[in-house]
């Protein structure tokens, strides 16, 4: 019988964890780092803590994961780091970035930067999964789960020397309702912050960027959206000075409304944008900021 352990590595993942558990249609427990509600339909809410490198964390999770057929977590750089190592420790199969569940052993996921949706059949359990919550219906709330605390006692030889987390004060990109993104033409970090950041703050939006913008130091790396960056699913995605490469599109396809501002009327981004404005972003974006 299938039984899932769904992991929420941060409190903002708890709802997504329940959405996946409910969509799987099998009993599930939620292991959560940080706070989580207790009415998410889980059998047990298991609270855990520990901010340690992947080797120790995966080792600790291995003990908790025993007895489950599915061990899943919301996709993030952190979960990919840890969950793939956990799969290795369990000698298990892994399916990354699941967007739909056909049955407890058949999943859909994007490949080739989202140009193709593949159906993956799991041939052996347990299976380790990361999933994108945007693909799943909001979980039904109700009932109270039992709660317990797990102490993760894993060991590892990696030491953390330093952390430089940039607190932007803006919403989390992967959960934001609005995202304003900029590309290569933004020139430098100051211009990017002023033009893209200015509109974002007016909207209460998160800030995103293309790889080209990040690589040239215009935007911080954690803002990269796309195949190899973050996947966003906001109500509104504003792309300013972004050409619309396959790799960038891979990260924004789940947005409800995409607005493109680009001075080239033939830019590929217009082929997917719901609303397109052919204009110089240095005129249009400040004008938007001012008129909002």
């Amino acid at each position: 019988m299938a039984k899932a352990l769904v992991i929420a590595f941060s409190s903002s993942d708890a709802e997504g964890a329940a959405a996946f558990g409910q969509a799987l249609g099998a009993p599930f427990d939620i292991l959560h780092f940080g706070d989580a509600p207790t009415d998410l339909g889980a059998g047990k809410m298991i609270s855990a803590s520990g901010d340690v490198p992947a080797d120790a964390l995966a080792d600790g999770l291995k003990a908790v994961a025993s007895g489950y057929s599915h061990i899943a977590a919301v996709s993030s750089m952190h979960s990919k780091d840890v969950m793939a190592r956990l799969a290795g420790l369990l000698d298990a199969a892994m399916v990354t970035d699941v967007i739909a569940i056909a049955s407890p052993t058949v999943f859909k996921r994007p490949i080739y930067a989202g140009s193709i949706i593949a159906t993956i059949e799991v041939l052996a359990e347990p299976v380790v999964i990361t999933f994108r919550p945007a693909g799943f219906a909001k979980p039904t709330r109700g009932g109270a789960s039992t709660t317990e605390t797990a102490s993760l006692a894993g060991s590892g030889s990696t030491k953390r020397v330093s952390v430089s987390a940039r607190a932007s004060g803006r919403p989390d990109l992967t959960q934001a309702k609005f995202v304003v993104s900029g590309g290569r033409p933004l020139r430098d970090a100051q211009t990017f912050e002023q033009v893209i950041g200015g509109l974002a703050d007016k909207l209460g939006a998160a800030v995103g960027a293309t790889r080209a913008a990040v690589d040239s130091g215009i935007a911080p790396n954690e803002c990269q959206v796309g195949q190899t960056g973050k996947i966003v699913a906001p109500d509104l995605y504003i792309a300013a000075g972004i050409s619309g490469s396959t790799q960038h599109m891979a990260g924004i396809k789940d947005s409800k409304v995409i607005v493109a501002i680009n001075k080239d009327p033939d830019a590929p981004i217009f082929e997917v944008a719901d609303l397109g404005l052919v204009a110089d972003l240095f005129d249009a974006v400040p004008e938007m900021t001012q008129k909002l």
């Binding site: 290795g88 940039r166 195949q227 609303l275």
Partner: protein, 247 residues
Amino acid sequence: MKILVPIKRVVDPYAKVRPLADGSGIDLTGQNFAINPFDEIAVEEAARIKERDPSTQVTAISIGGPEVEDQLRKALAMGADESILVESTAEWDSPSVADELAAYLKDNPTDVVIMGKQATDDDNNQVGQMLAAKLGWPQATFASKIELKPGEAVVTRETDTGEETLSLPLPAVITVDLRLNEPRYIALPGIIKARSKPLNKVAPKTSPRLRTCMTGVESPPSRQAGKRVGSVDELLAELKGRGVLNG
């Protein structure tokens, strides 16, 4: 210092790919192939480490059919000392690739494995972490800076919120991100010179034990081009009209 760089041959990352009409797989007709861009960054990094310390030995390895020779030769041209083709036309999923690489590493002592964080065809982002786990080695994924010292790797890695720096005792597995370096351009003489470097073909030490398989593919629902607006005012009116913005 011995460095192993596993590489995968993938469809040109800038090409358009489509499903076969019957949905049984990817239409590969007419496609060009390349080293997975992340693996190219890994080869480049190993080549730079060797340039700084010529006693470094760099081996590129790939599991695949005879066609992967092209990519392994390119790795030699970029600076690897030898390439190994683990020749197999079978299907290998991530745990099987990790098992085979682990078997190679058990027989061939190596200080550090440097490899791509993900292959741009399957977008799995799995093999490096699985390999590290199977060997019981520490790992640093998504590296944007690597410093190797005797017995230690100091790696700066990209995280969801910024960066962090880890210290790992060697041996270790490091997977690389886009901003680690920019791979060199290889001119023709380099590729010709690489012909004198060894490219060894070996049989796999393990047989793939598939834990997942792809049973079909389809195109994603396509987004339609929407409406062109002529001004910022019109844009804001549309957004308000659609209920995306208040007002």
